[in-house]
């Protein structure tokens, strides 16, 4: 039963399932590197997924949908930035609130815009219709179908991983963002605004989170469904931590979770062992816990992550 094709299919499925997690995770990496905890990822993804589907449906153009997803993801994340950076609200609290808000908002807007709750009408053209194989490379055995015969957002995710790594560790702004997360005052004292950097970090995570949502609603599928993110935002947090706050690490962790999920579905299909479905379904979640437990010790969070930063303060 474990044929070569099976392996390849499994790996392709891994990519398919991990892409939204990867995107959300690398977004979270940038955000936390700047010092802001972002557990609002779940909500941001939901918002992104919603607007991507809506715009794609009414414009008939999935690319516009894609932009909408990114745009509204960013807008929503600005709420988080405003609450945490400007209002000095506890990061976790703000994130939790935004997740709740996103659920209510999408449901209400469904009723208003689509006319009924539940799921939006299928979009005419989905991004999956733009799948394309990169000539030569896609012929490479296993690697080819995994990385070089994919759909747009998947390709984007690959590019973004590299881009973000380069951005964080090779550019000036990247250096500033990292400093904002490690020792904000040091950054402020050489004349770079910590507020700006943190807003930037949250904003980036919002855009990528929106993209992750868009992937769910207009690339992997063709319509928005309430609560379709289904906890992926939180798995992304786990991926970020297990990945040691590094884009590449986060990507690998996300791959791992995607792999676990792909595997459990196939176990079900094969009925390899006769267990209740639920046992298979929980498999990835259990693995997540194990992974976090195993890897977290090696990974060190940015020193100042989750801490508030205020300039005007009197001594003592």
């Amino acid at each position: 039963m474990i044929t070569f094709d099976f392996i390849v299919n499994l790996l392709v499925a891994t990519i398919r399932l991990s892409t939204p997690i990867t995107l959300a995770a690398i977004g979270a990496v940038i955000c936390e590197r700047s010092g802001i905890v972002n557990i609002a990822m779940e909500g941001i993804m939901l918002i992104g997924a919603f607007f991507a589907a809506i715009v794609a449906f009414y414009s008939g153009n999935p690319w516009l949908g894609l932009l909408a997803g990114i745009f509204f993801g960013a807008i929503f994340s600005l709420l988080h930035a405003f609450a945490t950076v400007s209002l000095h609200l506890d990061h976790v609290v703000s994130g939790a609130v935004l997740n709740i808000l996103a659920l209510g908002l999408t449901r209400y807007l469904m009723v208003l815009i689509v006319g009924h709750p539940g799921t939006s009408d299928p979009i005419p053209v989905g991004l999956s219709d733009y799948q394309f194989a990169i000539p030569v490379l896609s012929r490479i055995p296993v690697i080819g179908p995994m990385f070089f015969n994919q759909t747009p957002i998947v390709y984007m995710s690959f590019v973004l991983i590299i881009l973000f790594t380069w951005f964080l560790f090779k550019t000036k702004t990247g250096l500033h963002i990292r400093s904002a997360g490690e020792h904000p005052l040091a950054l402020e004292t050489i004349g770079v605004s910590v507020y700006k950097m943190r807003y930037l970090g949250v904003l980036v995570s919002g855009m990528v989170g929106g993209l992750a949502g868009a992937y769910l609603s207009i690339e992997n599928n063709v319509s928005f469904t309430e609560g379709m993110t289904n906890g992926r935002g939180f798995i992304a947090m786990a991926a970020m931590i297990s990945g040691g706050w590094h884009p590449v690490g986060a990507f690998l962790a996300a791959l791992f979770f995607g792999f676990a999920d792909a595997l459990q579905v196939r176990f079900q299909v094969f009925k390899i062992v006769d267990l209740p479905e639920e046992v298979f379904i929980i498999f990835p979640y259990v693995l997540t816990v194990i992974a976090v437990a195993g890897l977290v010790r090696k990974s060190r969070p940015p020193k100042a992550v989750g801490t508030d930063f205020m300039i005007e303060r009197s001594e003592d």
């Binding site: 609130v97 709740i100 449901r107 209400y108 939180f234 929980i282 979640y285 976090v292 977290v296």
Partner: protein, 426 residues
């Protein structure tokens, strides 16, 4: 003044308050009859007695100070609620619904017509919120209360199916068993937190998913009455003796569904409040929550208290499950979306982590839910609006920093002016 007085007044207050809240919470408008206002007036009376006693003991100025203090403590929440309701109204207006009618229905439904539903909704929320709030005090975020809720529900069901002792013994045993299971469910996160530093937000969240998918398995294992079309998606009904008494058993006309779980919730809230602020354990937990380095330097074991906090939190969330099974459903459904765990987070945040505050925010949330249902039923307004209003309330209340920020900014402006003047003269 002399102690006998004060204790006597205390007794009066407690009695009035107890009777009052029983009447109030058990009240129903379905059968026309009402204990509701009686309950409220009794509680108000109790509060009055309290204030009298307080004045006799500490004098008038102290009383005024107290009133001022408590006013300050409620002004932010109340402001937040009012503003949120206004925003929600505007939203409804611009999206073509009648806010006045909607809100009238909301409050009428939540506070009068379906008050008993508000109470039913509140009970489990209070338990899960207590769980989250308690963990907060130790600096932990028990985001996975939902999972512990499922564990508690399963444990309560299992025990209640087979434990045939007289209720007075049996119910407490079930109560404890459920609590223990919930606590056990948090052993892993606690252990990982202490040993590897794995963040509880992730571990408890993941385990919540696990628990949710375990419940159907459990239900099928204890699968119920083939006569119903539900079979086997609900367990057998639990034994009579394990059901929490409902108010109707000692109050005629009380709604037969309103059970004493809410009183249990309030008692537990008071116990938790006592535990946190009046006992050594609470002291250590709060110390760890506020500054674990200092706590450690004074010989308070951080790991031990993380365990305590997470396990107690797990037990509290599990009690919500106990409350639903033994109080309301008397069996465990394959519940597609209980959500008490998630909503408990909002309730806890809204109460600022104060166990007693949780009782009120829990009732508020339950009221909004029940009222929201009534609203959408009678005015055909989508109940999602209630979710949004809730979200805004939460944001405005937890972001009380908004108000402090504003006031600080205001002060600074004033000071600038004054000092500028001063400098000008100099």
């Amino acid at each position: 003044m002399n102690r006998t007085y004060s204790t006597a007044l205390n007794a009066v207050m407690v009695v009035l308050g107890a009777i009052g809240s029983i009447l109030w919470l058990g009240a129903t408008f379905r059968s026309g009859e009402t204990y509701y206002f009686w309950g409220i007036w009794l509680i108000v009376a109790a509060a009055g007695v309290y204030l009298v006693r307080y004045t006799l003991e500490n004098g008038r100025d102290e009383l005024l100070a107290l009133v001022r203090k408590s006013l300050r403590s409620v002004v932010v929440p109340v402001m937040g609620i009012v503003v949120a309701i206004l925003i929600g109204g505007v939203l409804m207006a611009i999206t073509g619904y009648d806010p006045i009618a909607a809100y009238q229905a909301l409050f009428y439904g939540g506070l009068v017509r379906n008050w008993h539903i508000s109470v039913l909704n509140a009970a489990p929320l209070i338990f899960t919120a207590l769980s989250v709030a308690f963990a907060f005090k130790a600096g932990l975020f028990n985001i996975g209360a939902e999972g512990q809720y499922y564990l508690g529900a399963m444990g309560a069901t299992w025990a209640s199916l087979y434990l045939g002792l007289p209720g007075i013994i049996s119910i407490p045993l079930v109560f404890i068993f459920a609590a223990l299971l919930g606590a056990a469910w948090n052993v892993v996160p606690a252990f990982l937190k202490v040993k590897t530093g794995a963040h509880e937000v992730i571990t408890t969240m993941m385990l919540a998913h696990v628990a949710r998918y375990l419940s159907p398995v459990f239900i099928r294992a204890n699968g119920g009455d083939p006569a119903t079309s539900l079979h086997p998606y609900v367990t057998f009904e639990i034994l009579e003796n394990n059901m929490l008494p409902s108010f109707s058993q000692f109050m005629e006309h009380a709604n037969y569904r309103v059970h004493t779980g809410i009183l249990l919730a309030i008692i537990v809230a008071l116990v938790i409040n006592f535990l946190l602020y009046k006992t050594r354990i609470g002291f250590e937990i709060r110390a760890v929550g506020e500054n674990k380095d200092a706590a450690r330097a004074q010989g308070i074991s951080v790991g031990k208290n993380i365990f305590r906090a997470l396990l107690i939190a797990g037990a509290l969330a599990a009690l919500a499950g106990f409350n639903q099974v033994n109080g309301l459903d008397h069996k465990l459904f394959e519940n597609l979306q209980a959500g008490y765990g998630w909503n408990g987070i909002s309730v806890a945040l809204l109460a600022g982590g104060n166990p007693v505050g949780v009782v009120f925010t829990g009732l508020l949330w339950g009221m909004l839910d029940a009222g929201g249902q009534f609203m959408s039923r009678t005015t055909q307004t989508p109940s999602a609006i209630v979710e949004i209003v809730k979200g805004i309330i939460l944001f405005l209340v937890v972001a009380r920093y908004i108000y402090t920020a504003i006031s600080q900014w205001w002060k600074r402006r004033k000071q600038k002016q004054t000092t500028a003047v001063a400098a000008g003269q100099a």
